[in-house]
Amino acid sequence: MGVHPRAQDYPESFLPGVIPDESELTVGTKIEPGKRYGFFTDTTLCIGCKACEVACKEWNSLPADNMGLSGMSYDNTVKLSADTWRHVMFVEKVDGATGMQPFQSNWLMMSDVCKHCKNAPCLEACPTGALFRTEFDTVVVQQDICNGCGYCVPSCPFGVVELSMADGKAHKCTLCYDRLKGGLEPACAKSCPTDSILFGEVDDLVERAGKRVEELHERGVTDAYLYGAPNTPGATGGLEQLNAFFLLTDRPEVYNLPPAPTRPANRLAPGLLAGMAAMAGLTLAAAAIFSAPGEKRR
C-alpha cells in the first residue's frame, strides 16, 4: 500500500496527540459514520503471536481470564469470553497428510473474534435494546442498559457473547467502537504484525479477500476459501453476511466454526403459530366438553 503522504506530516517518534483520521495513514481508509466496517482475518498469514489478544485486552482494559495451562497446543486462552474478545486458535496437524513430521510446526492458526453479523442473532434476541447496531454497522452491547438476562448467549451461532459474573452484564468485541469514533483502526488490526487481521470497509475487504483466494489458488493452496463473505459457509441460514469474515484452509469445524449456522429468529414464527394452533384446538375441545349436557348438580 505504501506510505500515505499524510504520514510525512508526523516524522517524530513521539506524537503531540491523536492524529486526526489516523486510520487513513494506517489502513488507507477514513472512518466515517454510515459506512460498514469489519475485519478480514486471513488465517494463512497468522503466526500465532497473540499480539491481537494482548492489544485487545490492553485497549479495552479486560481482565485476565484463564491463568492455567490448557494442554491445547499453544492455546491457553481456550475460548472467546466476556473478558476475551480476540482468541488465537492453534490446530496442530499431525495426520501426516502434509508429509511433515509429527510435532513439526504445522499449525492452523486463526484469530477468532465477534463476527458482527449482518443479521446479528444476539442483537435480534436482546429484549432490552442493550445490543444495538452502531453507525459503523457493528454490533455493540450498551453496558448501561444490559440487565444480564443472558438471552444473547445461546442465540449467538458462534459462541461469542458471554455474561460476566463480575458485573452481571453481557460483553463482547465492540470492534473498538471508541477507537472508530476517534478515527483509529481497531487495536487488534493495528497490532497485527503480518496483516492477518485487516480492518476496512466490508465491501472493500470482501473484494480484496476474493483476490487473495484466487492468488492462493494460483500458488497451489487450493484449499483456501472464505468463511462469512456473502454466499459462503458461515453466511448461511439468514445471517446473510458476517462483517468480520475469514479465509480458511480446512473445514470450518476444524476452527470450531459451524459450517452452516442459522438465525434463531427464523424459528419463532413456526413455533408460535404451531403453539397457538394447538391452544386454539384445545380451547375449542374444552368448550365443547364444558357445554356438553351431563350430570345435574347434586
Binding site: 490446530v91 442498559i145 424459528r267 366438553i289
Partner: protein, 357 residues
C-alpha cells in the same frame, strides 16, 4: 423419519462451539407457572361462558392465573444477572426475540388477570366487568402457555432448535393439562366430582396431544442427530420416567379408566385425584428436563456441529468448491509409538554440511 448419525468429526479440543445460557431450575419453574396460570385463565373463561354449573372453576381459574404471575415473575427476575434493571425488558419491543415478546405477554397477562381476580373478589357488577376483561386475558393466557417453548427453540441450542413446532405444542398441551388437573383437584376437594369429570376429560385430551407432540419432537431430534441429552443421562431418565411415564401415561390410564366406566356407575374419586397429581408433578419434570437437557446439548460441540451441517445446495458451490467434497475431518488419531521416535539428526547430509569447513 430415520435416525441420523451423530457428528463424529474433529472438534476443537472438545470445546463447545456455542455458549450455554445461565438458565437454571428457576426458568423451568417459571415456564411451569406461566403455563399453569395461562391455561387456567382459558378454562375459567370457558367455564364462565359455558352457562353450565361449573362449581368454583371460574373463581379458582382466575385466582390461579394471578398466582402463576405472582410466583413466576420473581423467578424470572431473580435469574437476571442485574435484576435491579428488570424494567428494561419493556424498554423496547423486539419482534425477533421470544424474550421480548414474552415480556409483553407476561405484562399483559399479569395486568388483565389481576383485574379479573379483583372483579372476582369484589363480586356484583365488578364481576361482570371482570368477565369482559377475561377474554383478552384468556388470549394472553394462550400465549403464556406456549411461548416459553419458542423462548428455548428461538436460540441455537440444538436440542430445542431442532423442533420448534412440536415443542410449542408439547408445552402448550402440558400447560392445559396442568391447569385442568389443578382445577379438577379443587373440585374433588369440594366434592363436585361431576365438574372434575369434565376437567379430567379436558386433561385427557391435552395429555394425548402432548404425547403425540412428544413423539414428533423425538423423531425430529433424532432426524437431526441431536437427541442425545434426552436419550441418555440423568435428564433423559427424568424426561422418560418423570415427564412421560408419570406425567402422561399414568394420568391417561387413570382418566381413561374413569371415562370408560359405563354410565350410571360412579367414577372413582381416587383415580381422578391420582391422575391430577401425576399431571401436576410430571409437568414440572417436563420443563426441568427439557431445559437442562438443552443446556447440556449446547455444551456438546458434536451436537451443534451436527445441527449446522449444510444441506445440499446450501451455498454457491462454485465459490466454495474447496469445501465441497471434502469429508468432515476425522477425529485426530493417536500418534503411534514409531512416529514418536525422533528423527536421528546426528547423521545425514545436514550434519555433513555442518561439518564442512
Amino acid at each position: 423419519m430415520k435416525m441420523s448419525a451423530p457428528y463424529e468429526g474433529q472438534t476443537y479440543y472438545g470445546q463447545p462451539v456455542v455458549k450455554t445460557p445461565p438458565y437454571d431450575w428457576r426458568i423451568a419453574a417459571y415456564i411451569y407457572c406461566a403455563g399453569l396460570g395461562g391455561s387456567a385463565q382459558i378454562l375459567s373463561t370457558l367455564a364462565r361462558l359455558s352457562g353450565r354449573e361449573m362449581g368454583d372453576v371460574v373463581r379458582n381459574g382466575r385466582y390461579l392465573a394471578v398466582a402463576g404471575t405472582i410466583l413466576g415473575t420473581p423467578l424470572l427476575v431473580s435469574d437476571l444477572k442485574t435484576p435491579s434493571r428488570f424494567y428494561n425488558m419493556l424498554r423496547i419491543f423486539r419482534p425477533t426475540s421470544a424474550m421480548s415478546i414474552g415480556s409483553y405477554i407476561l405484562t399483559g397477562f399479569g395486568g388483565l388477570s389481576t383485574l379479573t381476580a379483583m372483579g372476582q373478589a369484589a363480586g356484583g357488577t365488578a364481576e361482570k366487568a371482570a368477565t369482559a376483561v377475561q377474554l383478552p386475558a384468556a388470549l394472553a393466557g394462550a400465549g403464556m402457555s406456549m411461548y416459553t417453548a419458542s423462548l428455548l427453540s428461538g436460540t441455537n441450542g440444538p436440542l430445542w432448535a431442532a423442533t420448534p413446532r412440536a415443542l410449542a405444542v408439547q408445552f402448550g398441551a402440558a400447560a392445559m393439562a396442568n391447569a385442568a388437573a389443578a382445577l379438577s383437584l379443587a373440585e374433588q376437594k369440594a366434592g363436585r366430582s361431576h365438574v372434575s369429570a369434565r376437567l379430567d376429560a379436558v386433561a385427557t385430551l391435552a395429555l394425548a396431544t402432548e404425547l403425540a407432540a412428544s413423539v414428533v419432537a423425538k423423531e425430529e431430534r433424532q432426524a437431526r442427530g441431536v437427541a442425545g441429552p434426552l436419550e441418555e443421562g440423568k435428564w433423559a431418565k427424568a424426561y422418560k420416567y418423570g415427564a412421560l411415564a408419570l406425567g402422561v401415561a399414568v394420568p391417561l390410564a387413570c382418566h381413561a379408566a374413569n371415562l370408560a366406566a359405563p354410565p350410571g356407575r360412579k367414577k372413582s374419586r381416587s383415580l381422578s385425584i391420582l391422575g391430577s397429581l401425576a399431571v401436576l408433578a410430571g409437568g414440572m419434570v417436563l420443563r426441568q428436563a427439557v431445559l437442562q437437557a438443552g443446556n447440556e446439548s449446547l455444551k456438546r460441540p458434536a451436537d451443534y456441529l451436527r445441527f449446522t451441517q449444510p444441506k445440499a445446495g446450501h451455498w454457491d458451490e462454485r465459490k466454495v468448491g474447496s469445501l465441497e467434497g471434502r469429508a468432515a475431518p476425522p477425529r485426530k488419531a493417536a500418534i503411534s509409538a514409531s512416529e514418536m521416535k525422533p528423527r536421528d539428526y546426528t547423521t545425514g547430509p545436514r550434519r555433513a554440511k555442518d561439518a564442512a569447513p
